[in-house]
């Protein structure tokens, strides 16, 4: 039968990397994993046709290496990624200055001190009250 089995050192290679690598191959191959004391056993069988399994093993090992490297990089960069994400989330929330500005703008529209009322209107109302007091 067109089948190949090889061993991977479980001390050197993480299971996560093996899973990711297997996932890349399950569209064309049937994969069975097992384990003895020190090694993970990988069994490969093509779904269709005849394939040079030695080259497939080589491709699998290369993919495994790239996955291991990816895993290492994500581990090393985890703090930086968290920091960048934190910054992105922090900048999306309104700052204290922005909050203060929006509040003051709202106050201006409401005009609680009556600053926006023209001087003539203000004085008219005052004059009327003065005239009324004089007539009395």
């Amino acid at each position: 039968m067109n089948k190949i089995t090889f061993l991977l050192d479980s001390k050197l290679i993480s299971l996560e990397a093996i899973y990711s690598t297997c996932y890349a191959f399950i569209d064309k191959f049937y994969i069975y994993l097992d384990k003895n004391k020190e090694n993970v056993i990988v069994a490969f069988q093509p779904k269709e046709g005849k394939v040079n399994l030695k080259t497939i093993e080589g491709e699998f090992r290369n993919e495994l290496l790239s996955n291991l490297l990816r895993e290492k990089i994500t581990k090393n960069n985890s703090k930086i990624r968290e920091y960048i994400l934190g910054q992105a989330l922090y900048s999306s929330t309104p700052s204290k200055i922005e909050e203060f500005l929006t509040k003051t703008e709202e106050d201006y529209i409401e005009d609680p001190l009556g600053i926006a009322i023209p001087w003539e209107e203000k004085t008219k109302s005052k004059n009327k009250t003065k005239k009324k007091s004089k007539s009395k």
């Binding site: 299971l15 899973y19 990711s20 297997c22 399950i26 994969i31 069975y32 994993l33 097992d34």
Partner: protein, 65 residues
């Protein structure tokens, strides 16, 4: 058909999920033995190998997700 899946490699949740997905097609029985999950079911001998291999790949896919 009896399929043995190493406990150190195949997580229980993934195997259970795969068995429950396959319920509509084939009823599998899941047992725990020394260091292995044993999955057994009645399948025609012609299709046995195919079902076995597809099931194994399916479990791997679930693990990765």
């Amino acid at each position: 058909m009896i399929l043995k899946l190493n406990k150190e490699i195949y997580p229980k949740k993934a195997v259970q999920k795969a068995v429950s997905f396959y319920k509509k097609v084939i009823i599998f029985r899941l047992k725990e033995e020394k260091g292995y999950f044993s999955v057994s079911g009645n399948i025609e001998k012609n299709n046995e190998e195919l079902v076995k291999n597809e099931f194994l790949n399916f479990v791997l896919g679930i693990i990765r997700q």
